[in-house]
């Protein structure tokens, strides 16, 4: 039977190979002549796209909604600002400016169009009802992952929307999404669609989705669900290709050294914009208040959030103000322990960057590529786990040594080893900070959770990796590795099967 199966598989493989014509993959791909958009910059673009889309009002609606500062476009000199005060533990992690972004955004970057809804007659138009529809058209030669606007695998739950397979995220169910969000790809026309709301739940978003119409690339609400608490008046639409902080702006980013994906970041951005951006930020922030910053009235939002249901608490702060007529400036933190006072300190210390400073920031490289993190695992191990993308791996040898290591941009750090029965071993980065917890799980474990004073009920780990081998009960040496992404560290790890705690172990 085995030989027959082998023959069958080899025959099918041959047919598969033969069916692929020599030129089937087309010509070698080439990016456009625009500069490279690094992985870091992609994150920045995504954040800025979400945070800084310029809006103009629907003319038939409430005139209190500010208009876009179209008249200033192209006539404003946007300064490159950098802070003299950089929080302890943060270093420059990259920068972007129009020389990189304009060509990329126009030629190969995504084009998003959004429509914002709320109660046009209320002082706070988003107090009882709010909705943003967003479509993103991806260029053909994009190097974004397929399903570009979708949350990562393992986040959210699959749904069918308008006949398409999509993903629904309840608040906090998906990384980076604190609002109820519904994503799906439309094929005619071809783009990703996203609905986001604080006041509507997933069921209501699905009702909205089924009744959407498309005006060009704008997704327009038809009849809103009857059980929404307030009206969904169209308040504003973004102007395609008028993304001030992307197309005309500058950003400089800061992060801890050897930061991991999803780790804390601090960003200072400047770009063309005006009062309309404050409206957008107000909606995004949800809760905000006015502050004085650099002699101007600004808006600040301070939120403690956790992403992906993980045990880590992150503070997301957005501070935005009009630096000068037609120029907005913004200081944002994501997944960071920085406080409001520290962010205000950063803002107050801003000054124009010198050419040398900016050039140096632009030269900062990508994070290390994760593809080869597993390459240092010895070949004769009985089990291993590789935290692809997070920079560490662990393995168990035949003679009962359980070891792990960290890889960063400077190379591999020394192995940390314990015994095969160790539940929790700790890997540190070059700075001595906790990078990874790893160990061998009790037999039957299907998930690992962390308990901390902030999250005493425990939460599944955000960046946890089990060497599942697909059938955990049959694998006696199953390993886990968990990379905590900043914030409070757990005091206890729980090993669970079907939600039941098999074993709880204090973290050393």
């Amino acid at each position: 039977m085995t030989a027959d199966l082998d023959t069958t598989l080899r025959g099918a493989a041959g047919a598969l190979r033969d069916s692929v014509a020599p030129n089937s993959a087309g010509p070698p791909p080439r990016p456009s002549s625009a500069p490279i958009l690094t992985a870091t910059a992609l994150v920045v673009v995504a954040a800025i796209l979400a945070a800084a889309v310029a809006f103009w009002p629907n003319n038939d609606k409430d005139t209190t909604v500010p208009s876009s500062d179209v008249s200033t476009k192209g006539h404003v000199v946007v300064p490159r600002l950098i802070p003299d005060h950089v929080p302890d533990g943060y270093v420059v992690s990259g920068a972007s400016d129009p020389s990189e972004m304009v060509g990329e955004a126009a030629a190969t970057g995504p084009v998003s169009r959004t429509v914002l809804y709320g109660d046009s007659g209320a002082d706070d138009p988003f107090a009882h009802s709010d909705l943003q529809t967003s479509t993103t058209r991806w260029p053909e030669d994009t190097n974004f992952d397929g399903g570009s606007g979708m949350p990562p695998e393992g986040h959210g739950h699959e749904v069918t929307v308008r006949g398409h397979t999509g993903v629904a995220c309840a608040p906090d169910e998906c990384i980076g999404e604190v609002m109820a969000t519904l994503y799906w790809p439309e094929e005619e026309p071809l783009f990703d669609v996203r609905l986001t709301s604080r006041s509507l739940d997933i069921d209501q978003l699905q009702q909205v989705a089924e009744d959407l119409t498309f005006e060009g690339d704008y997704a327009v609400v038809g009849s809103p669900p009857s059980d929404v608490d307030g009206p969904l008046d169209e308040l504003a639409r973004s102007q395609p290709n008028d993304l001030p902080l992307v197309a005309t702006g500058y950003s400089i980013n800061y992060a801890p050294p050897h930061n991991i994906p999803g780790g804390p970041t601090l960003q200072v951005s400047t770009g063309e914009g005006g009062e309309s951006n404050l409206l957008m930020t107000r909606w995004l922030a949800g809760e905000w208040r006015r502050v004085e910053v650099r002699g101007h009235e600004g808006s600040i939002s301070v939120k403690e959030e956790r992403a992906g249901g993980g045990p880590d608490r992150q503070t997301a702060i957005t501070l935005l103000w009009e630096e000068e007529p037609g120029v907005i400036a913004q200081v944002t933190t994501l997944m960071s322990p920085l406080t409001e006072d520290e962010v205000l300190q950063v803002a107050e210390s801003l000054r124009p960057a010198t050419d040398e400073e900016w050039a140096a920031a632009l030269q900062v490289d990508d994070p290390p590529d994760p593809a080869n993190y597993g390459q240092y695992i010895p070949t004769d191990v009985v089990a291993s786990v590789n935290t692809t993308g997070m920079g560490s791996a662990a393995y168990l040898t035949a003679d009962g040594q359980l070891c792990g290591y960290v890889v960063d941009s400077e190379g591999k750090l020394p192995d940390v080893c314990g015994s095969a029965d160790d539940r929790v071993l700790v890997l540190a980065d070059r700075g001595g900070n906790v990078h990874t917890y790893f160990g061998r799980v009790p037999e039957g474990t299907d998930s690992v959770a962390g308990v901390s004073p902030e999250y005493p009920d425990s939460h599944p780990m955000m960046y946890a990796f089990l060497d599942r081998q697909d059938e955990p009960p049959e694998v006696p040496h199953q390993l886990y590795a968990w990379v905590p992404a900043g914030g409070p560290l757990p005091t206890e790890l729980q090993f669970l099967a079907d939600g039941v705690v098999l074993e709880a172990v204090p973290v050393p």
Partner: protein, 181 residues
């Protein structure tokens, strides 16, 4: 910043000490990678799209990728990881359909008996399916599969063993079902 020759792309040092270009790598690996992605995704269009995206990603990071001992292993890893997500596959296919509208011909469809084999492979647990295509379609030895997937040789052997067991059962059921019809 990638400095690429317009005709041949950036260059890399290979294990023989000679230099090879991005385009050489593309010519050598693209077809095999499309076959890999096709086996895992079940969509020729999506497979081509995914391979294009993988090479584009490699091109954009060529200074880094070309320094690897085996840049092709990096590409295989990207492709096999990208090929198994249902949603990503759908989006890749949708994009590819748009791109392929200008192409006069589309590749042929697999014979039904071979298609049935790959349907069964795609029904396997994700890691098992990846191991099967890397082993049978790409003819990779166990050690190289382990390198691509970032796991140990033993894990690969376990996956392959279980995959064979499941496939034998699935294909037997399929054969019986076919005979009964």
């Amino acid at each position: 910043m990638i400095e690429a020759d317009e005709q041949t792309g950036p260059e890399l040092g290979d294990e023989t000490g000679e230099t090879a270009s991005f385009d050489d790598l593309y010519r050598r690996e693209a077809r095999r990678l499309v076959a890999l992605a096709y086996g895992l995704s079940g969509s020729r269009r999506a497979a081509e799209e995914l391979v294009q995206e993988a090479f584009l990603a490699a091109y954009r990071r060529w200074n880094q990728i070309s320094a690897y001992d085996d840049p092709a292993a990096w590409l295989r890893r990207v492709v096999v990881n990208q090929s198994v997500s249902r949603i990503r596959r759908r989006v890749a296919e949708a994009r590819a359909m748009t791109r392929l509208r200008a192409r006069p011909t589309l590749p042929a469809v697999l014979p039904e008996q071979d298609e049935a084999v790959w349907r069964a492979v795609r029904a396997l647990p994700r890691r098992q399916a990846q191991v099967v295509v890397l082993h049978y379609v790409d003819d990779l030895p166990i050690a190289e599969i382990a390198q691509v997937l970032g796991c140990s040789d033993g894990t690969v052997k376990t996956h392959l063993h279980r995959a064979r067991q499941l496939l034998a059962s699935a294909l037997e059921n399929h054969a019986h079902g076919g005979a009964e019809q």
